[in-house]
Amino acid sequence: MTPRRRRLVLVIGILVGVSIAGALALSAFRQNVMFFFDPSQVAAGAAPAGERFRLGGMVQKGSVQRTPGSLEVRFTVTDFKHDVPVKYKGVLPDLFREGQGVIAHGHIDGSGTFVAEEVLAKHDEKYMPPKIQQSLKPGAT
């Protein structure tokens, strides 16, 4: 191959590779991005039943109920305007406490209960966008 043709092949190869990668990354992004809603948005019907999203808010004081001796726990997440009941089965993070911020990861079932697959407490090792921090602020201190 002449140097020019070689360069042409290289450039085309790179362009094709980059655009395929870009398209796939974009589709992965669109499919896997999760929205974050607070209880008011949930009450307004922002989250369709069955669709996965992140629910953020405060664990209402006195709302945590355990089935004694089992891993199942129920609590209410509130933003002081609306409440969402949450059901979770598993080990809760160290910083999970009543009156503290949480983010739960899951979907709304038919009865309007949020079925959490994962619960993150505030200051957990995972990501919490600033806006969520703001929505958690009123009772944080």
């Binding site: 140097p3 070689r6 990354a25 992004f29 355990r66 080990v91 957990d124 600033p130």
Partner: protein, 651 residues
């Protein structure tokens, strides 16, 4: 008195940094040799001042000086000495001081190695480093002074975040920062070449050991952080695609591209401007990492501060440094045309694709990390981007990269002739595939299609790396450190890929609610909850479980997970108990009291998980070996050379 001394030392360091930047950059530009020669004393003076400041802060911590706000906020009279020292970088102000201190160390190392460089070039490199140091010192003094007094003094300290009271964290930030800051040296070399408007033929060879050493430190730092989060955060994950982890991973990806691209520039004089661009990008991403983590833009366990003034300062600094470097690049890079050509199957093409794929991988990580911020800034609905995005879009460029790595090591420069190695490559590929299938289907139940693919690639990379050294050994040829380092680093990569495939595919995990005397089964392992009792440490108390572990019916070990409550901050911490045998981790974490005499417990069995970090450390070792190759120390042997100057950064 001592804290004021530290504060004063920082101010002097700021002045010296300004002198260093001015003489280093302006001196050569105006061809004033005596100006340029004044840079070295400025470097030495700045090092002494920064060292003094560091010592003063360490003294304040060691002597329980709670009249210093930073000490009162981050230590306590019950905190052991080692954590009081580690508390220096336990929060924002001190970690900035650590950043500055490490930059001073790297700069001093460059100054020592500068005798082997052309004097004007050395002055420019040190000048650029002085400019960076000036920015950080100004930032520290204006917005985040660790020596501020508390009036009146606190009777006792607020204690260090219990998450950070751990030996792993005592060394994780210094390692990571040494890597971050190390890319400042590569950046300064690039800056010096661009200021001069020409690239010395030995430029790449001068730059290589620094970039490789920085990369090795960063590799260690990331691995330590991942290891720490695995055993200290309590719940057994080793990578979360947390923005803070991504912030350290992006410079690593671009840095990896940089050290490969430097090899091409060094050996063949190609990719010159691309290498410069990568050097700029690697350091820019390091700065961005500092910005993301320290400004409080992202809130996670790593972000200490949420002060907008700091954010604006760093943002301005970021724009100035990155924007300045890129403008200089746009002006100067067109003058750095490479002339030589190469064939499609030559090593140059493999390294070109290596670079493209690594940069694509870095870009996908960047996109996922920044998307929530951008969406937020534009007033779009709040997004969250997690592993479901990162895992597939990261694997996409990385899988072909691994394939290229196994083959590319054997391609010759300029003209690719794989013919002599073809048979060896083919047979190692067959062995790797057979081994992978045996592991995936024989030892375990197959998990996903990616399992055998990942295992094959990992084993193939390890075997393929061995072909060349074995061949040299058989023919009684010498093995230079550089080649040895490359081999070792690639073996580390292979080991890492094998471990990752195994852990991702064959991890067993279960949460259970157990009462005393009950047990649960996980694969070949049986866990019995024997007892629970109180435990007390120097600054915490808590409960400790006794979990008897059996493997195939035979007793293996008694594990003791703890739930600690740290007195001062009242925070609760889970201390997981981990037993490792043959690289497989048996992991137990104690949850909470569920009532009715039961406790929640988390059990995990993770095969080969230790080899994730072992693989990363082997990679770093390879980097250290390559950086210490003698050929980098004999670039310009006009003067008598001090032994071991290049590639041995003061850590």
């Amino acid at each position: 008195m001592i804290p004021e001394l530290g504060h004063f030392a920082l101010i002097l360091a700021l002045l010296l940094a300004a002198l260093q930047a001015f003489f280093g950059i302006v001196g050569p530009q105006l061809s004033r040799e005596r100006w340029a020669a004044a840079v070295i004393p400025a470097v030495a003076g700045q090092f002494v001042m920064v060292m003094t400041a560091m010592g003063c802060l360490a003294y304040a911590f060691a002597s329980f000086d709670f009249s210093v706000r930073y000490v009162a906020d981050n230590s306590n009279s019950a905190l052991p000495l080692i954590y009081r020292i580690a508390a220096i970088w336990g929060a924002h102000e001190g970690s900035l001081l650590l950043w500055i201190f490490l930059l001073a160390c790297w700069t001093l190392a460059v100054a020592i190695a500068a005798r082997r460089m052309p004097p004007q070039f050395a002055a420019r490199v040190l000048g650029v480093l002085g400019l960076i140091s000036f920015g950080f010192l100004l930032f520290t003094l204006v917005t985040s002074n660790p020596f501020l007094r508390l009036e009146p003094a606190a009777p006792d300290g607020h204690d260090l975040n219990p998450l950070l009271q751990d030996p792993g964290l005592a060394i994780h930030p210094p390692m990571l920062y040494t890597g971050y800051v190390g890319f400042a040296v590569a950046f300064a070399f690039a800056g010096a070449a661009m200021l001069a408007g020409k690239m010395d033929p030995s430029w790449a060879r001068q730059t290589r050991p620094w970039a490789t050493a920085a990369w090795a430190f960063l590799t260690c730092g990331i691995a330590l952080g991942s290891w720490w989060s695995y055993y200290e955060l309590g719940w057994g994950g080793y990578w979360f695609w947390d923005p803070v982890e991504n912030a350290s991973f992006m410079p690593w990806l671009v840095g990896t591209a940089l050290i490969h691209s430097l090899a091409v520039t060094d050996k063949r004089g190609l990719f010159k401007s691309w290498t410069l661009l990568l050097a700029i990008l690697a350091f820019s991403l390091s700065l961005l990492g500092t910005f993301l983590v320290r400004s409080g833009v992202l809130v996670s366990v790593h972000s200490f501060a949420a002060d907008p003034a700091r954010g604006i300062f760093i943002l301005a600094f970021l724009i100035l440094v990155i924007g300045g470097a890129l403008s200089l690049y746009a002006w100067r890079a067109p003058g750095l045309k490479s002339q030589a050509g190469f064939e499609l199957s030559a090593r140059e093409s493999f390294l070109l694709f290596n670079n493209i794929l690594l940069v694509i991988a870095a870009a996908t990580v960047f996109g996922g990390t920044m998307a929530p911020l951008i969406a937020d800034a534009l007033g779009l609905p709040t997004l969250s981007v997690g592993p479901p995005y990162f895992n597939p879009s990261f694997l996409l460029p990385i899988l072909p990269l691994l394939l290229l790595a196994a083959v590319g090591m054997h391609a010759g420069w300029k003209r690719g002739r794989l013919s002599e190695k073809k048979r060896a490559l083919f047979s190692t590929a067959l062995i790797a595939a057979a081994g992978a299938l045996a592991i995936a289907f024989g030892l375990f139940a197959p998990a996903s299609a990616l399992t055998p693919v990942g295992l094959t690639l990992g084993i193939w990379i390890v075997l393929s790396s061995l072909i060349d050294p074995l061949d040299r050994w058989r023919r009684h040829l010498s093995l230079p450190r550089g080649v040895l380092g490359m081999t070792v680093a690639h073996i580390g990569l292979g080991v890492f890929v094998i471990a990752l495939s195994t852990v991702q595919s064959f991890t067993l995990e279960r949460d259970a609610a157990l009462a005393r005397g009950q047990s649960t089964q996980l694969g070949a392992y049986e866990f019995r909850f024997e007892d629970l009792g109180p435990v007390e440490g120097p600054n915490y108390d808590g409960v400790r479980g006794d979990i008897a572990v059996q493997r195939n019916g035979r007793p293996l070990i008694m594990l003791h997970p703890e739930k600690r409550r740290y007195w001062v901050q009242g925070s609760v911490m889970t201390e997981a108990a981990i037993h490792s045998h043959f690289g497989t981790d048996v992991f137990v974490a104690l949850g909470e009291d569920l009532g009715a005499g039961r406790w929640s417990l988390r059990f995990q069995v993770r095969p080969l998980v230790d080899f994730l970090w072992i693989g990363a450390f082997i990679m770093a070792l390879g980097g250290a070996l390559a950086a210490s190759d003698r050929r980098y120390r004999t670039v310009k042997s006009t003067a008598a050379l001090p032994a071991g100057a290049a590639g041995e950064p003061a850590a």
